[in-house]
Amino acid sequence: MPDLPDGADNLARAVALREVCKTRWGGRFVPAPATTSGHERLRCHSSEVCDLCAWLVQDVGYIFATLVAEERMEDGVTLTYVFQQDSSGSWLDVDVLLDPHERSVPSISPLVHAADWHEREVEDLFGLHFEGHPRLGEFVLHEDWPEGVNPMRRDFDPARALEHRDEQAAWAAPTIVTAPGAFAMPVGPVFSDFAESAQFLLETVGEDVIHTIPRFFYKYRGIEKIAEGQSTGRVLLIAERFSGTAAFAHGLGFCQAVEAILHCEVPRRARALRTLFAELERLRHHAAAITAICGSTALAVANSQAALIEEELLRLSGTVTGHRYLFGLVVPGGLARDLADEHRPLLQAAIGDAAGKLNALYDMLCVSSSFLDRLEEVGVVTAEKAMEYGLVGPVARASGSNRDMRARFPYAGYDTAKPMIPTEHEGDGYARLRVLFREAEQSAALIHAVLEALPDGAIATEPDRTRAGAALGTVEAPLGAAFHWVRLGESGLVERYRVTPPSFTNWHGFHLAAENFAFQDFPIILASFGLSNAECDR
């Protein structure tokens, strides 16, 4: 990109961006003072948003991160398109202010495919229409939701029970396959074991499934709405619990946003321990994901071996943090509980033990040809598609991407304890499994590194609660990049909370992996993606 030098520092980039806006675009986009702390910001009219976003993504090398819609008291809906640039570690917000009665915006999805589901969600929750979007219609809110009721609007009362439409209202799947004899087989929302509620329509002409249409948001609990008007302490409970298997990561994402707004400096020891606990969570999470993959291929011994490691890590978490899923640990300003000195040797030994067992399991799996046959070339996502869909986390890293928030936008203690980011290139189930194993190994190494250089001192500082504003908290959750956008009002209460979890981002691309496969491979493809519906649906 000739206009903006890659890798230039943020200030130089900001100046350059302003110049380009003036000269190249003739002032159509106005640089505006940042509203989200630490972000550059451009403002444009809704009619210009497609040109601007396409330019940022296609020419300047920005990556679409999230879309935040917000209806503040005084004016209409504001749309904030958030972009990140990995090479420079910078952020850019594009703001579109709609008039109070404006209900329609041009869709950027045909140009920026990663925005697809974001626009569909805003359409449902805010009642806006995205002109030119290829596939709108029922998404978050299912068929018996009352027409014209948009829960994220200001005038919607979250405490009031809903008047449902006729509960038997028929829902017809939008089928794509038209071959003779084709039919769609629904799987879910209730499954035969401990699977999460979601529905998949498998379009088939017999043995092979040609296309998969997922239907989600059975678990929509409206966390962004019920957070409005609540204290940060209350919202933290929700941030930790909407996706309990990544509680620490999401709690941390929320706390980091609050800390950015309150200009709160977290003590060094707390930052180091945040890295340690986040890696402990990732390690346990990946052990669980590996258990699920072994289970999906019906390899019973490997499944129970992995399950033993998972339970041992849960017990370790319970022992050193008080909670098996690390609930109640992270708070704005630091941590609520310290790592006890007497737990350090235990932690060191147990992490070493888990890493060793995972290694041994990996070595055995790699020579089990019947197991590998079921994963290799199954559920392939190409590198190009992974980019186009903006996929994140282990799924993206198995398709050649090296995106990782810990490396590109370091937080907590990741500026000193730097992770090595494993990548694989085949994009199939086996590549995803290898990424999980190698990341687990990295997590163990990071925990050891933190323990070796753990600073002394306080684990929390009391934030000065008098500031208001908005900020984006970003973390690399076990499943990938998570964005927590928070606005605090003058009263210190949360005015808007928008979470973009990695499962939301990656489920969008799941259908890519679930095309033209043998029916019995479906559980394997699902397990190798390892996504969470609790996290996606919120």
Partner: protein, 253 residues
């Protein structure tokens, strides 16, 4: 394949001693605050005011915990200015609801379970999954997961019941033949937890179908879920109520 057989055999049996004996491993439960006597009514008020879910309430010079609302946030245990709360390190928290009727003894050693995720966060489901894993191995106690509701005796439900799961939950319950029992696991399924009631969630499973046994916890650890199942099977007594709780609500211990 031989390698796997040897690996399996070498690992040996890892199952918990529970319920025949006590579980001695650490980290199997986060514990839960218990009913606590304090020095003054103002201490009781102060302690109870730390609780964000209303699980802890002040009664004169004691605080009483409604286990079904506790979400393990630890806030009542972490404020140095407040009196220490009695922390119950155990896990036998399951209890009957008023609707419960005992099952016939024929069920005590063979119960088939169907699970429904009614908007659970993943941690409850993970703990339920652990119950099936080698450390807890519920098969040894005669509990089995069944793939169809037609064979199920127990419906295990987690989550506050999100709006879109009301119907699937009702239909699953209706598809089960009597006698059937419903076990609600986790604060969400018991009281709505931190999510319900709201426009998008109920205040727990009881709003949708009758509940027989509740298993408190956020999430309830695997042994707590096992205790809940043993309760349905008539093989374990429910969690005892403290004398403080009995005094507070005038019901017997």
């Amino acid at each position: 394949m031989a390698g796997w057989v040897i690996k399996g055999a070498r690992t040996g049996i890892r199952s918990s001693a529970y319920p025949a004996g006590p579980e001695t491993a650490i980290g199997v439960s986060p514990g839960m605050p218990g009913d606590t006597a304090v020095d003054s009514p103002s201490d009781a008020e102060g302690l109870a005011s730390l609780c964000p879910t209303g699980a802890m309430t002040a009664h004169d010079v004691s605080v009483v915990v409604d286990r079904g609302r506790c979400v393990h946030c630890f806030r009542c245990a972490q404020d140095a200015r407040m009196p220490a709360v009695a922390w119950d390190p155990g896990f036998e928290w399951a209890t009957y609801t008023d609707a419960y009727q005992a099952l016939h003894a024929a069920f005590s050693r063979s119960l088939h379970i169907r699970f429904v995720d009614a908007g659970a966060c993943g941690a409850c489901m993970s703990e339920a999954r652990q119950v099936n894993n080698p450390y807890y191995n519920m098969h040894r106690l005669g509990f089995f997961i069944t793939p169809t509701p037609r064979n199920a005796d127990i419906l295990l439900v987690a989550g506050p019941v999100s709006d879109a799961m009301r119907d699937p939950l009702r239909k699953t319950y209706a598809a089960m033949p009597p006698p059937k029992r419903v076990v609600a696991i986790g604060a969400c399924a018991i009281s709505g937890g931190v999510f319900g009631p709201s426009y998008a969630s109920a205040a727990g499973v009881k709003d949708i179908i009758p509940v027989d046994v509740i298993v408190p916890g956020c999430p309830p650890p695997p042994l707590a879920i096992l205790h809940g199942l043993l309760l349905v099977a008539g093989r374990k007594p429910p969690a005892p109520r403290s004398s403080l709780a009995a005094r507070a609500d005038g019901r017997p211990e």
